[in-house]
């Protein structure tokens, strides 16, 4: 493991050196082979992508500078940022790798190294890693959040991404945002998907069974809506792949789109399944493709024994190495591979006689300029996008600083959204969900409609304006804060804190629910009164459809009007009890 780590760092170092050339010189074509040629080991290679959020084209993506770990997660992966993350994984500061994995020096490094991801570049990398290892011994697994996040995914109800993942050759996938389309659309998309869609933790409700859901579900006796696992003979061994969809889908997203299905984490059922696969199906290794989120995966790995590898997603943590979790009968490797097509995980496993004897892992950043576009995929993407160019390419405003979202609290792009809601919808206060998707715009770049869609495109985009009591506002903040800072991972949902506009607050993540949020204060300095009413605008309501204009139209109108996107004030909270936490860096408002 140490060897491969060093080897990878050395190879990245070569590209890093190439990176000091001026931006125009960083096509660096001579280096491409070196960067992505890696030694083979073991007998099975798993390629793992997740949470691409329908980003077919290369993008910029800034990693967070705030990703706090509370309780047992304090100072542990994935709750490490900046230099703490680099030190933990032994990555040299200033290297190409440091740029890929951390937020440090983002604008300059991104200008120099160029964009990341893009399906035509990813396709080239996947092909290379399959061919060099032997395609027959390689699987490509996708953790989901693939069908949502772009204008074209929205227009085609996710079908453009089904075509793209077919072209890419995804063997297995599970899901989360896939479930923000209607049940029938989801089933249709899965029919068109060439790989297998797996989920062991989605059951049909009993009411739906009465109404004829037995016609389409995978297993009428168990109530599983989808196939739960698949067995594959590969590299001379029997491999089981289990799907674990996002267990909180019906809480975090509208339940009304998928009324017949129910989700959760079922540890004892998972344990039973793993035991059965080992004792009766005689598999040599068990892999879970999961959308739990990394904290939940780590907890599940400690509670369920017999899983060799969890290929995880949801929390968008680009972790350079897996975390090894000890459990009753052995250990489980837990990986998480970031988001937006930025990374591809490569797990080479040495599996013999029912045991994983060793592994080599690399999380490869997909630098678009280092990987030539695959012609077939490029053509497919062109065909998908061409009818929408006019919509996507409209230039709305100039970004006068880096515009990003990812992080526990307001990013700059969130602030643009919050400001747009207040101005266009004429509200005192605005709220915007703490999603972890959304790409980054560099300083001096034009913000296009496509960038706005990257940040806002979902299937329940209507905005609202309504009066809300101060106490209700606090309740919302407390509820969301508990979703992220509750020390028990199974009670977290994996999003970030709700973004706010028009007011600031103090947050103490270490307190229990009801006590984390205090001193809510309007931008004019007036303290928010629990019993007073305020006009609040927001979007993406999960309960019922709102009746206001579509969020991307609201943001676009605001940006067209401003011409220059500028943040006067970031409504991030003052934080208590986080000084010294390795999950926060470059954050000035610490009490």
């Amino acid at each position: 493991m140490t060897m491969s780590r060093r080897e990878f760092a050395r190879l990245l170092g070569i590209a890093g050196a190439a990176g000091v050339l001026p931006a125009t010189g960083f096509a660096a074509k001579k280096q491409t082979g070196d960067l992505y040629e890696i030694p083979n080991s073991g007998n099975v290679r798993l390629l793992h992508m997740t949470d691409c959020h329908a980003q077919l084209m290369p993008v910029y993506f800034r990693e967070p500078n705030v990703n706090l770990g509370i309780g047992n997660a304090y100072g542990q992966a994935p709750h490490l940022v900046g230099e703490k993350l680099l030190n933990h994984f032994g990555i040299s500061p200033g290297s190409l790798e440091a740029h890929a994995f951390s937020y440090l020096n983002f604008n300059d490094a991104a200008s120099r190294y160029g964009k990341v991801g893009g399906f035509s570049h990813l396709k080239t990398l996947v092909n290379r890693l399959r061919q060099s290892y032997g395609t027959e011994n390689t699987l490509l697994l996708d953790g989901g959040d693939t069908w949502q996040g772009s204008g074209t995914a929205f227009k085609t109800r996710g079908m453009d991404m089904v075509e793209a993942t077919n072209e890419l050759g995804v063997d297995y996938m599970t899901g989360h945002w896939e479930f923000t389309y209607h049940q029938e659309e989801i089933l249709n998309n899965i029919k068109a998907f060439n790989g297998e869609f797996l989920a062991n933790n989605i059951y049909v409700t009993e009411d739906a069974l009465f109404d004829g859901a037995d016609e389409y579900i995978h297993d009428e006796d168990s109530g599983h809506v989808f196939k739960t696992y698949s067995i594959r003979e590969i590299g001379g061994v029997r491999l089981a792949i289990i799907g674990q969809a996002f267990p909180r889908t019906k809480i975090a997203n509208p339940a009304r789109f998928i009324p017949d299905w129910t989700f959760d984490i079922y540890d004892s059922e998972m344990q039973e399944l793993v035991d059965t696969l080992r004792s009766e199906e005689k598999v040599d290794a068990v892999i879970v493709i999961s959308h739990n989120g990394m904290d939940v995966d780590l907890a599940m790995a400690s509670r369920v024994s017999g899983i060799d590898v969890i290929l995880g997603g949801h929390t968008h943590d680009g972790m350079p190495q897996p975390t090894t979790v000890k459990n009753q009968y052995g250990q489980t490797l837990v990986c998480n591979v970031g988001s937006n097509g930025k990374f591809l995980g490569v797990m080479d496993l040495d599996i013999r006689n029912g045991k994983v004897k060793g592994f080599n892992y690399r999380l490869m950043p997909v630098f678009s300029e280092l990987l030539p576009a695959d012609a077939g995929m490029a053509k497919l993407i062109e065909d998908i996008r061409a009818p929408h160019y006019q919509w996507l390419n409209e230039e709305l405003a100039l970004a006068d600083e880096v515009m990003f979202r990812r992080g526990n609290f307001n990013g700059t792009f969130d602030q643009l959204i919050c400001n747009a809601l207040m101005e266009v919808n004429d509200a005192q206060i605005s709220l915007s969900p703490g999603f972890r998707w959304g790409t980054t715009v560099l300083e001096g770049q034009k913000i296009t409609m496509e960038h706005v869609l990257d940040q806002t495109c979902l299937t329940y985009p209507e905005t609202y304006v309504r009066p809300m009591k101060g106490s209700e506002l606090k309740l919302i903040l407390e509820d969301v804060a508990d979703n992220i800072f509750n020390p028990e991972p199974y009670l977290q949902s994996g999003g970030d804190m709700v973004r706010v506009g028009g007011f600031d607050y103090v947050c103490d993540p270490l307190q229990p629910i009801g006590k984390r949020i205090s001193e809510m204060t309007l931008d004019n300095g007036e303290r928010i009164d629990a019993n007073k009413m305020y006009t609040v605008s927001g979007w993406a309501t999960v309960g019922a459809q709102s009746d206001g204009p579509i969020i991307w139209d609201v943001v676009a109108e605001h940006l067209r009007d401003k011409q220059v996107a500028h943040i006067d004030k970031l409504n991030t909270p003052i934080l208590k009890n986080v000084a010294g936490n390795p999950g926060i860096d470059g954050y000035s408002k610490i009490k």
């Binding site: 009993e206 069974l209 009465f210 037995d214 009428e220 006796d221 109530g223 996002f246 909180r248 889908t249 019906k250 809480i251 975090a252 997203n253 339940a255 129910t262 989700f263 959760d264 984490i265 989120g293 949801h314 929390t315 968008h316 969900p433 703490g434 999603f435 972890r436 998707w437 309740l475 919302i476 509820d479 969301v480 508990d482 979703n483 199974y490 009670l491 949902s493 994996g494 999003g495 970030d496 709700v498 629910i513 993406a540 309501t541 999960v542 309960g543």
Partner: protein
């Protein structure tokens, strides 16, 4: 399995109705002393009215409930016990306006295995109490009710 799931459920539903009737009849007879328990506004009073005796926690009572409710209006719970001589199973939601939600009378020779749905307005501890051979045994679990949304 020769019978498909839908028909099994239908059979269970029909059977359920019959069991329901048998549960209801004694309920009418017992109405005088259960009314106070069902109307009690705090859990201690409800337990005292219904059980009137000390309750001890037991690993032989299994309470299955979600960590987080998908929908607070219908939270599925299942209570099972492997103990011999189970006579009744009751369910309490501590923070509900009236904490006692249900009491199931288990006829002799019946598996102690019941499922129901609870209505919960907010996060609360759910407690299942099994009465076996005249004594009371319990299991508890906190179920989180959230306003939802804002997920990543």
């Amino acid at each position: 399995m020769s019978m498909n799931r839908r028909s099994v459920i239908k059979v269970i539903a029909t059977g359920g109705a019959l069991i329901g009737a048998s549960v209801l009849m004694p309920r009418i007879a017992m109405a005088a002393w259960t009314t106070k328990a069902f109307e009690a506004e705090d859990q201690a009073t409800a337990m005292n009215e219904l059980l009137g005796s000390a309750v001890e926690e037991s690993a032989e009572v299994t309470l299955k409930a979600p960590d987080i409710a998908e929908n607070g209006a219908v939270v599925p719970v299942t209570i099972r016990s492997s103990m011999a001589g189970v006579e009744a199973i009751s369910v309490f939601v501590e923070h509900n306006p009236t904490p006692l939600v249900a009491e199931f009378i288990i006829p002799e020779g019946t598996d102690a295995d019941v499922s129901t749905r609870l209505r919960m307005g907010k996060t609360s501890k759910v407690t299942a109490v099994v009465k076996a051979n005249g004594k009371f045994y319990s299991a508890s679990k906190e179920v989180k009710v959230t306003i939802g949304g804002c997920g990543g």
